[in-house]
Symmetry: C2
Subunit: 367 residues, 2 copies
């Protein structure tokens, strides 16, 4: 099977191994697993995650949920505020086909959902998003109890759970001790759920954790679910922070790229730029210690130091006589999730042979 | 017409005005215009550029050329090294349908093209890429004459021209004086072409310039063609360096985004992250003086200071009571080219009304 570069290639043995490892973690801790499929946006991989024990999936945007539902996924949590009349109506329509859990981070947003649900004779399951330090969406932790009580009183919605996305934080600071971070995240959210339950609201799910912290969040009593995404593929951000104890050997997704220019002794140019490798995780980005815009497998001395749109530059400290025009190099992306989102299709590798492909069916579904 | 956010919206009056301005510049200087369509990847807009006097278009990758040819564009320059047997064969096939000009930056790459062209009984038009300071693809300026003579002697290819991409550089340094940069770029390349012609090689085209420098390159005697791309839309990088004298009023492409969270006094969250706005042009990137990951039209005090995949954070110095959950904001992207590449479709605005859309037909065509 021949594929033009640049392309994303998945080593399926590593995919299965990464899925098994997280499944084991969750099973051992009797904790639910609801993988975030924004990492791959591929229904076939979502189904594989469910085969490995996931109760359902997580998505960021409603259009992703719609694609996944169209491909047979029947239990989806959209971990993103449901905003706007048109989207609320789409969510209600989708909730008549599958189990859809939606999210709100304040009373005002929940009221809008409530109004339209009543008008359409529907009841949507809701989770309250709590801000535990990321300072993006989410009601501040301190006011979450009161907001939860108000939302729980609304008709047309059922406050089913709580969730947070916290990254790697401990006591409000970015921290590389994933165990401490995960335990604190889980404990904070489990305690909040208990407080809300004491007020008579039957909070069922406490959903926390991402790839770096999931294994430790899952250990915390009261946490019912973790939502890791990147673990299926891994990438340089995760390797550099040892998420899931991952190493370069665990990275399942690489971008294959071709050398297009070697005519100067101090730079090799490949055919992947920022239209083929995402640039959100830039060199030096704390706390990931990223050296360049991606790492060349097998060439630890090389750094993808500059990208333009379709060019990637490996600036050399000394000439690299083993690399020639036309060679294929494998780039380990810094951040695989927005990288996969640049491709319509990914290719599958087994026993060093390309044997098939998946459509990235929810690529670009950001609405 | 209702469109979900995030979405790219083109103000078509501004598109036409931007096209007219560059057409006037080229006509006044009797210089050819071959717009780089990597900015939009939309055949309808490529055709509009040809209506405005472009002789043909430029693309970066062969798959873009194939899409444009499928939509009726008949004169295409691929300003990128043509590498690899499969791609060379695709290029030969395409050259039997349209006028396709290819590129090489060294003898070795040109020889591979020559071999396959002879085998297939074809002759490909070639341009030699010259590195005039960007330090990516391109033969070093100092050795370009000798390389051109060797390539010109190959059968199966016809060395038709020279090209360079130089950005904004003067005497080897990044420089904001676009006039000086453009004049130097044009003069260097025109002089090189003359040297090659003296050796009996009939170099026809000297193709230079990008949006910031095109108007000055076009003034240089001996320059036959400029290849601006961004000028059709403009963006914050161009506005901040006053390319084409552009101002915020000239920016034709904005990302419409919806406010999804306002529940904290010091941050507003919108539904555009790095899957909706490219991050290659990051805040502080020299020489563009970018404040955030995009500028909010009408709110000069706001800065899109953080992005995650689907969240954009406007961190506030003081509360902004005029913005509410559900509001639509218009973001002027830092770099429009990789931003458009994130969308399947863009929407068209005239007289403040959305009235249609174009498919981004070459989106993701990076191979």
């Amino acid at each position: 099977m021949y594929v033009e570069t640049p392309c994303v290639v998945l080593d399926m043995e590593k995919v299965h191994r990464n899925l098994q490892r997280m499944a084991d973690i969750c099973q051992r801790n009797h904790c639910g697993l609801r993988p975030h499929t924004k990492t791959h946006k591929i229904p076939e991989l979502a189904k594989l995650q469910i085969e490995y024990g996931a109760a359902g999936i997580t998505v960021a945007k409603l259009s992703e949920a719609e694609v996944m539902a169209d491909h047979g996924i029947t239990d989806i949590f959209m971990a993103y505020p449901l905003i706007g009349e048109s989207r609320i109506r789409r969510a209600i329509a989708l909730s008549r086909r599958i189990r859809l859990i939606c999210a709100a981070d304040c009373l005002e947003s929940a009221e809008a959902i409530s109004r339209l649900c009543r008008a359409e004779g529907a009841v949507l399951e809701l989770r309250l998003e709590v801000d535990t330090g990321m300072h993006r969406t989410g009601i501040p932790y301190e006011t979450a109890l009161q907001e939860a009580l108000r939302i729980a009183a609304l008709p047309g919605v059922r406050l089913q759970g709580l969730f947070t996305f916290r990254g790697m934080m401990y006591d409000g600071e970015t921290c590389l001790d994933r165990r401490k971070c995960g335990h604190q995240e889980g404990s904070l959210m489990a305690a909040l759920a208990e407080e809300i339950r004491k007020e008579g609201i039957p909070i069922q799910d406490v959903s926390v954790g991402s790839t770096p912290t999931a294994e430790f969040c899952a250990e915390v009593p009261g946490v019912t679910e973790v939502r890791p995404g990147t673990y299926i593929f891994q990438d340089m951000m995760q390797v550099n922070t040892s998420a899931c104890e991952s190493t370069l050997e665990d990275v399942a997704a690489t971008v294959w790229t071709q050398v297009v220019s070697c005519c100067k002794p101090d730079v090799i140019v490949v055919d992947s730029g920022c239209k083929s490798l995402s640039t959100d995780a830039a060199p030096g980005k704390f706390p990931y210690s990223l050296r360049g815009y991606g790492t060349v497998a097998g060439y630890p001395e090389l750094s993808l130091s500059r990208l333009s749109e379709e060019h990637g530059m490996l600036d050399l400290e000394r000439p690299c006589p083993s690399i020639h025009v036309g060679d294929i190099l494998r780039i380990i992306p810094n951040h695989i999730c927005p990288t996969v989102n640049l491709y319509d299709r990914v290719y599958l590798l087994r026993d060093h042979e390309l044997y098939g492909s998946y459509e990235v069916a929810a690529r670009g579904r950001n609405y």
